[in-house]
Amino acid sequence: MTLLHTKLKTTPKIEAGDFTHIVEYLLKMMEISVAEAEKRTGKNAVNMQETYTVYLIETRPVDAASEGTNPVPDSLWRRYSEFELLRNYLLVTYPFSVVPPLPEKRAEFVWHKLSADNMDPDFVERRRVGLENFLLRVASHPDLSSDKIFYSFLTEENGWKETVFETGFQAKADSRLKALNATFRVKNPDKRFAEMKHYGDELQSVISQLLRVRARAADRLYGVYKVHGNYGRVFSEWSAIEKEMGDGLQSAGHHMDAYAASVDDILEEEEHYADQLKEYLFYADALRAVCRKHELTQYELEMAAQDLTSKKQQREELATGTIRTFSLKGMTSKLFGQETPEQREAKLKMLETQIEEGEELVKERNAECEEFVKSAWVDIERFKEQKDHDLREALISYAIMQISMCKKGIQVWNNAKECFSKM
């Protein structure tokens, strides 16, 4: 169980702050973990042999564990692509939520010793931890945790995929995707959302930069430590030609070897910090997605309102016989002769219906917009608190890591110094 899991289980921080209502988050009822990873081979959609990794999801009711009976957890295997499917479903179904991100699909920001190979055991292990983190985040989210599809993802091995597709979210997804990719401009952008989007942009940019430089620095640090290992060898050779100095040199050499070896653990721990940053790099994207979706909602409202206004204007013109707006129809009728009063009547009636529908639509869209803004803003506030808390924790553990590294360095060099002084 990761530290995050234990923390979420015991300190539901989500209760503090704005949430006055007590929500039964899934996590309070259930222990979730991604316990293992395994390699599988099989035939894919185009009947080609492929190798992929599956992850074991274990669940167990909280009460059972606290009673001390400790039953065997329920478990099932899932591939990364299934996690992706789950997330896409959540994105479409809860557009106002900042949906927790998945760990990266491919290894990025690697320094030379780290493998970029998806099959590399270290990468798989870090991904396992990331996937567990994802599930725990979803399970502790006030809205997402009560989702049925999410529940069945954790509990129903067979037929889950079909269930997801049955919800028809794909259709919504496709249309939304098209709309989001299109360029549109909102006339009255909501200042708060615009600021949030900008923040998301900046956060993404700065964390990318940080990860890039950190990876380069890790490479260099590795070099510094490893070269000290050469001292070990040369001190050993040198001690062989010395009489009194020999022992001191030899033992100092061993400490230099230990120093060189210590960098592997140091950088492994630092990789964990990099993963924490990466999560928020991807979270920034999720945040921007919410802002973008809000913009779309706003835009659709504006479009509907615009359409209604123009229809109302048309009705007015038709009723009073004046043409204030240019329309091709108007022009053609002018060119090709006036309409008959019956034709005008028919048109007016049609317009009335359209206006009625239009007003309904605007009301609908307005309500949608308001609802979206309300829900989104609640989740954004929740996300902000979570982000501040998590990143602060990450920085603290980073500082603790550095302190530990310094202490180890002091110890090794003190040991070496003692050996030197005995030369």
């Binding site: 260099r220 510094v224 050779e237 920085l395 603790i400 360095g409 002091i410 110094k417 030197f420």
Partner: protein
């Protein structure tokens, strides 16, 4: 020497250290014990029974050398203190150069005054070293820092370069001052005390090392090198190799550290720019940025120290070893000369005449050289051990200091990072 033989026990220590109580201080002799060629030469007998030829300048001093004064004398028994400091730049129409102040404090009667303060430039040190090599060819003369510096690559007038050189020059004079024979050399005396060094004579003899010793004729073939000197040569070869390797490793570490430093200098500011658009996280992020910056400075100091203090000492020893190998070669030559001349005599038909004096002289030269060299070798080994102990301990210290600085920076950051949490804890 007569006073010497009267006051001192007959059997002089030929090797091995003796405690200071058992050894008579050479300056405790009433008369000038250092006067070569004094009357009672015949009284002097080497432990192996052969008479000592005190006519050559080498032998009288070699006697003193055998007293094996311990290096670690406390200040009370030392009577000559030399320091090099206060570098100053001199600009003239012809050239620009640096001079150093050389201060001497002494109770020795060889000096007219108890204190001296003179200014010398590198050329003068170089002159001194050459004179010492000339006049004391059987001894190991400490090295000077490298003479030639590539213009354009290294700034000869930068603070770091001048300071590194000053330290090396200081060490050179101290080693000479601590040497029981070299410290009494007249050229050394002149160097420390004379207003202006009369170097006209010296300049003419500024030749490469190894060529300045006149009496070694060279060209003789050596039969068998004594084991101990062969061992010395072998050791020096291996040791020089190891020093070269260590130099390369140290340079490589400095390079890697410099590159790491470059990345750190970019890394820290990113946290700073992040903090500019955060509210709650502003102080923690800014704090991390500051921390990384402190660590960067500490690393820079470490790298500079290693460049300035560690590498030059290694290189000094490499030069030292080079000059030592030359002395060993000279010794071989002296022995070869003796063996050849002896052989020529042995194969003479008339075996009744006594061994000619020049062959005897050769023999004495060999024995004195060997004795001087052995004594100096022991002294050198001792100094080497101390020097490397100090050098490596210094390296360890510098690294410890670096980590301690970083540790302090990160530890002071923790409360800043935890700050908000404590406040939250109070309000909730």
């Amino acid at each position: 020497m007569s006073a010497m033989s009267a006051g001192a026990p007959r059997s002089l220590a030929s090797s091995g250290q003796k405690s200071i109580q058992d050894i008579l201080h050479p300056l405790s002799a009433e008369e000038s014990a250092l006067n070569p060629g004094s009357a009672a030469e015949k009284d002097l007998i080497l432990p192996n029974g052969t008479p000592v030829d005190t006519s050559s300048p080498a032998s009288s001093s070699s006697l003193l050398n055998r007293l094996q004064l311990d290096d670690d004398l406390d200040g009370e028994t030392r009577d000559l203190f030399v320091t090099v400091d206060d570098p100053k730049k001199h600009v003239s129409t012809m050239e620009t150069y640096i001079t150093y102040r050389v201060c001497t404090k002494t109770t020795r009667t060889e000096f007219d005054l108890p204190e001296y303060s003179v200014r010398r430039r590198y050329q003068d040190f170089d002159w001194l070293r050459n004179k010492l090599e000339e006049s004391q060819p059987t001894h190991l003369i400490p090295p000077l820092p490298e003479k030639f510096v590539m213009k354009g690559v290294v700034d000869r007038f930068s603070e770091e370069f001048v300071e590194t050189r000053r330290k090396a020059l200081d060490k050179f004079l101290k080693r000479v001052a601590d040497h029981p024979v070299l410290s009494f050399n007249e050229h050394f005396n002149a160097f420390l005390s004379a207003k202006d060094l009369n170097k006209r004579q010296g300049l003419a003899l500024l030749t490469k090392m190894g060529e300045s010793v006149k009496y070694v004729t060279g060209g003789y073939k050596l039969r068998a090198r004594p084991v101990e000197f062969a061992a010395m040569g072998d050791y020096l070869d291996l040791f020089t190799q190891k020093l070269g390797t260590i130099d390369r490793i140290a340079q490589r570490i400095i390079k890697e550290q410099s590159e790491f430093l470059m990345e750190l200098r970019e890394y820290g500011p990113v946290y700073s720019s992040w903090s500019s658009f955060e509210e709650d996280l502003h102080d923690p992020l800014e704090g991390v940025s500051g921390c990384v910056s402190n660590c960067s400075s500490a690393l820079e100091e470490l790298t500079e120290d290693m460049s300035e203090d560690f590498l030059p000492v290694l290189r000094e020893y490499v030069l030292y070893i080079e000059s030592m190998k030359n002395v060993l070669k000279k010794r071989d030559q002296v022995q070869a000369e003796y063996e050849t001349k002896l052989e020529a005599v042995v194969f003479r038909e008339d075996k009744k005449t006594p061994v000619p004096t020049d062959v005897e002289k050769c023999q004495d030269r060999v024995e004195c050289f060997n004795a001087d060299l052995k004594a100096d070798w022991d002294r050198w080994e001792n100094n080497k051990r101390q020097d490397f102990r100090q050098l490596l301990t210094g390296m360890a210290d510098k690294n410890i200091q670096y980590y301690e600085k970083c540790l302090a920076a990160w530890e002071s950051l923790i409360p800043v990072l935890q700050d908000k949490q404590e406040a939250e804890g109070e309000t909730s």
